[in-house]
Amino acid sequence: MTSESPLAIELVDVWKRFPGVVANAGATLSVKKGTIHAVLGENGAGKSTLMNILSGVYRPDEGQVRINGEQHWFHSPSDALASGIGMVHQEFRLVPSFTVAENIVLGASEKIIRRSLIEKEVEQIAQQFGLVIDPTRPVWQLSMGERQRVEILKTLWRKAQILILDEPTAVLTPAEADELGNVLRKIAEDGRTVVFISHKLHEVTAFCDEATVLRGGKTVASTLKVEEVNESDLAGLMVGSSPMISERPPYQEPGEAMLTIEGLGTLDDRFLPAVKNLNLTIKSGEIVGIAGVSGNGQREMAQAIAGLRPITSGKVTISGKDLTNAPPSERFTAGLGYVPEDRLGVGLAPRLTVTENAILRCYKSLRKSIFLVSEQAVNYCKEIIDRFGVRTGPIDEPIAGLSGGNLQRLLVGRELSGNPKVVLAAQPTRGLDVQGVKAIQDLLIDERAEGVAVLLISEDLDELLTLSDRLLVMHEGEIVKEFDPANAHRHEIGAAMAGKRDES
């Protein structure tokens, strides 16, 4: 498409605030008609919020939404759909027990459903864009890729001129992803406009015409011509640099190996390999950082080490003890502290009280009578609160009301109070405010000084560069390169994140 194409979408200076979070802080987006436009950014960069504003799910606090040059205020997704904007959400909005055709017609204005007519229409659209599907099949029988086709058909059947796809390839196999690329191209050639949200760089360069990069709720690069940029540039733009609060800890000689991972392999939620033959040793008094674009196996690796995901090959040992097949509780007693990515849900139970959450790891050893919450338990909880500066209300009330920073302090405190030898911290500072970030980073630095081995997985490159003694870059389930954080160049790290391997 030429640069003279009219603009299909213009988002101008969009702000959206949620309690405690600014999701969009002056984001802009311009998309030309008939193009495939990528919106890139890390988790929490504000991509989804911006797309939810475009598709009428949220209303912006400030800013303008212009479609084909005309200003719009959408009150609901059906409003947006009436203006020709269809969204394919990451979690499909389909009724499993309905057929494909029934799902497509759900929400249409027809009073009486003429099944055969709709099935014919759907078939026709499907053929035009290469979306092979049988409209009479119930959705529960379909694969994830096929369900996605139903979602796309849903928007096309309602004559959407603008299609927004929120991380569409996250649920697809590589072959299905390529196929999706072809379908999107046909849709764009039909004169429609496609917005493609992703953080997978190779897909952006393979499928898209132009790209906009978001970071921290702002647009940091808009309307880049994809053919004029490379993946390293994009990776660099995505991670960017944020103000760093904690200072680099002084050098110390690492001690003996505490966590040893040999040839680790594990599968993702779709039972495809997520981590392949991963080797890693972390010594006492050392922080090892893992960088990488999210979705490259970091989450699965952390879960496999923590015992939450079956290990398909390899070995995990903590200070000489083989824990490959041990349950999570045994790993905790062996000296593994785990700060999971999902603070509420995996790390903490929202409806349990502060005390109950504090003793989750050791309620068996604290229990002196038939009652779960004893005086010992209360004291134990108070110790954590004092030592880690958790600000809470009454400790016999559910934790759901605590702020993100205090939840994380409680969680980290609980994991550290078992005097671990190894701390596995996955995105420990994500979504925290400045003070929260500093507090958690300082805790990790303190643990390092006390000779604990720390494995830090983060999407914040500055955090990794400051805290890590060694920085490893993960790509597609493998460690592709190791850096010395003191002498690492940001663009080299970006290139490694895009999959450029260590040549040596």
């Binding site: 959400h89 909005r93 027990s97 017609v105 929400g107 009486i112």
Partner: protein, 310 residues
């Protein structure tokens, strides 16, 4: 057993079947939209007493039926507001409705106990059809409510499968968020479904006092509301299958009062357990089948839907 008692039994099977079927279709509509309403027994009792009292005072059976349906629809809406709008536990709220309905009906019906009916719904006159041997007395000497019940079943079946309202209603019980994104109001659909379910349970109750017993006494519903709830499961949430189940369970109810006349030595108490045993059997089959495919029961039944907010 002679021919006359056999015909009598089959005729009663149809009328009891229709009674159960009406309440069952009401509950089915409510459950399809995702709201379990265990208040059927109470709604039926309330409908029964309301119908009887209105007939007593106005001598108009049709008005009595209409008022009974409106009162129970409003009564069911208490459950609707508690569970759909306020997000209360459906089982608890439904059970409360049963006890409230039984209590209210006993209270308001006290003066009417022992009264002769003010008016009854007399059988439909099908002319020569009703003179056909066997078929005539069984199918064509019935209360208008029998035909109404099976008409409601047919309409419901059409509504659920062939109309967009029906699709949205089923969707509300299967995946409320999907229906919400598609632009329907889950709250409105569910409230309407619960009220409709109440109206039909009320119609079933009114049918009982205006056509079958033609009198009011405390406890007139006699557990038939519960059988209607079981019937929804027995019919695997399908109006057609539920019709077969209604006739089967109706037959068991008809048999219960005739066991002695037939000279069969079988406890009527055991007999009245059979609908529940059959339902448990069906539930087991449904559960086993659900291992390989979505369960026949609406996926989000009993779940409160709140639009997710960040």
């Amino acid at each position: 057993m002679n021919e006359a008692s056999m015909i009598g039994m089959l005729s009663t099977t149809i009328s009891f079947g229709a009674l159960l079927y009406l309440a069952c279709i009401g509950e089915l509509i409510s459950e399809k939209a995702g709201v379990l309403n265990l208040g059927v027994e109470g709604m039926m009792a309330l409908g029964a007493v309301t119908g009887f009292l209105v007939a007593l005072n106005t001598e108009n059976p049709w008005l009595a039926l209409l008022v009974a349906m409106i009162v129970t629809a409003a009564f069911a809406s208490i459950h609707g507001i508690f569970t759909v709008v306020l997000g209360a536990e459906q089982v608890v709220s439904g059970l409360s409705l049963t006890f409230l309905g039984l209590g209210l009906s006993a209270f308001f019906g006290k003066s009417a106990v022992g009264n002769p009916p003010g008016a009854i719904l007399s059988n439909v006159d099908w002319g020569p059809l009703s003179d056909i041997p066997w078929v005539g007395p069984i199918l064509f000497q019935q209360s208008p409510m029998v035909y109404f019940a099976f008409l409601v079943g047919l309409l419901t079946s059409f509504l659920l499968t062939r109309t967009s309202i029906g699709l949205a209603l089923r969707g509300a019980g299967e995946s409320a968020s999907t229906v919400d994104t598609a632009g329907h109001s889950v709250v409105k659909i569910r409230l309407a479904a619960v009220a409709t379910g109440g109206a039909l349970a009320g119609a079933s109750g009114a049918y009982l006092t205006l056509s079958i017993t033609t009198s009011w006494q405390d406890g007139a519903a006699a557990g038939r509301g519960w059988i209607a709830v079981a019937l929804v499961i027995f019919g695997a949430w399908k109006p057609g299958r539920a019709a077969i189940g209604a006739l089967l369970f109706g037959g068991l109810l008809a048999l219960k009062t005739r066991l002695q006349t037939f000279g069969v030595d079988f406890s009527p108490i055991l007999l009245s357990m059979i609908p529940y045993l059959l339902t448990i059997g069906v539930l087991i089959i449904i559960s086993i089948r659900a291992r390989h495919r979505p369960s026949a029961s609406p996926a989000e039944i009993g779940k409160v839907y709140r639009r997710e907010e960040r």
